[in-house]
């Protein structure tokens, strides 16, 4: 009887301690997220300085791996769930997306001119729908289809993140597509400039082809640099112009999802329901783009401010991918199977050919 009372007292005492000191676990969680974010940032800067070819391996890879490692170690210690409080994927992603909007100068679309805009619209539309229908034909789930289409058509990691927010994709799907983006960007970084030289393309056409096809900014810069300074310049501007259209695609995708995909059968959603379901970060993205575009035009924002916004965006995205790694379920990845890889490969091949054709006609 006394043992039962003692153990009962201990149980009550333990549960009181837990209930009265959650702030210890919240603080630990906060510190852990901050430290892992800094560690990821450091790796993303340090590794390319050891080997320049590794610059194409961007921060999501390190973030997901560190998140996985932290999850594994804390699971072994039995405290993984207690320290999970600040691993807030959605919050970090959505805030990062608003900051992404703040790094887009809408005036650059105009500055790039009709040629660049025409190329961007043709490529984004054709590649998006090609990828969508190939993915549907191969039986890929709808949300994953949206992520694949957006990331191949527009610009890789940022597009995948934006589309994931617009359609409420699963964390595992975003991690999978981000991995594919980086995986396919690496060989293209070497292949495309070599083929451009072999085909005797002018630097402008080569740059437009590289910027319109390769999915990560780091790989675009790498490929452009390999070819020539002029190609690098054109490639960078092409990529930036395509990036600027992320907001438009996100808005349309979100609207399509709310009005068509999630529609209850036989019922048209009311304007209020559309508003309620519409991802508000898209509005924050657009407002941030408009504010920064005006700030640049009126001289309120200097290069330092824009650089700070880019860096802030990167911190939030690092924290988001860390959180994805922390909560990653390999079940979810296994469920997606090999088909997304096949879709991405086919879509990239299509993108490569179409981008070459369009660049050759528009930029000759």
């Amino acid at each position: 009887m006394s043992d039962q009372v003692l153990s009962s007292d201990r149980a009550v005492s333990a549960s009181r301690q837990e209930a009265s000191a959650p702030w210890i676990w919240w603080s630990a969680s906060f510190l852990l997220v901050v430290n892992l974010t800094v560690a990821t940032w450091w790796l993303s800067k340090a590794v390319p300085s050891w080997d320049a070819r590794l610059r194409v391996v961007e921060f999501p890879v390190y973030a997901v791996l560190l998140g996985l490692l932290a999850s594994g170690v804390l699971s072994l210690l039995g405290i993984r769930a207690r320290v999970a409080a600040y691993f807030r994927t959605e919050f970090f992603l959505k805030t990062g997306l608003v900051l992404l909007g703040a790094t887009i100068n809408l005036a650059e679309i105009v500055a790039f001119g009709a040629k660049g805009l025409l190329q961007a619209v043709i490529l984004i539309t054709s590649v998006f729908f090609f990828t969508w229908f190939v993915a549907r034909w191969l039986g890929v789930e709808e949300k994953l289809r949206a992520l694949l289409s957006a990331s191949v058509a527009i610009c890789g990691v940022s597009a995948a993140i934006t589309a994931a927010g617009a359609v409420l994709a699963k964390k595992e799907q975003l991690a999978y597509v981000t991995g594919l983006v980086i995986l396919f960007a690496l060989p293209l970084m070497f292949f495309q400039p070599a083929v451009a030289v072999w085909l005797n393309l002018s630097p402008e056409v080569a740059g437009a082809w590289i910027g319109g096809n390769i999915d990560t900014t780091a790989a675009v810069v790498g490929a452009g640099s390999i070819h020539s300074q002029q190609a690098l310049k054109v490639a960078t501007i092409t990529k930036i112009s395509q990036n600027a259209l992320i907001g438009v695609v996100a808005f349309l995708l979100a609207l399509y999802w709310v009005v068509v995909v999630e529609r209850k059968p036989g019922r048209r959603p009311s304007a209020w329901e559309i508003w309620e379901r519409f991802p508000k970060f898209v509005l924050g993205f657009i407002v941030a783009s408009i504010v920064v575009t005006l700030a640049i035009s009126y001289g309120w924002a200097g290069k330092g401010g824009l650089r700070d916004l880019r860096h802030l965006r990167e911190w939030f995205f690092i924290a988001a991918f860390l959180s994805i790694g922390y909560g990653l379920s390999f079940h979810g990845l296994r469920d997606a199977g090999w088909r997304p890889i096949g879709v991405y490969a086919l879509a990239t091949a299509f993108n490569t050919v179409v981008a070459l054709a369009v660049a050759s006609v528009i930029f000759r």
Partner: protein, 41 residues
């Protein structure tokens, strides 16, 4: 009834986090543009 209440609770939690991200994001943009927050590594 319980299902509707749960759906409403989840909907409002999602709604709150979305707006929180927008408010935090735009606040950070304002802090950077006004020079209050600067030299971010």
């Amino acid at each position: 009834m319980a299902q509707q209440q749960e759906a409403a609770r989840q909907g409002s939690r999602f709604f709150t986090e979305d707006w929180l991200a927008v408010v935090v994001g735009l606040t950070l943009v304002a802090l950077v543009l006004t020079g209050i927050l600067k030299s971010i590594p």
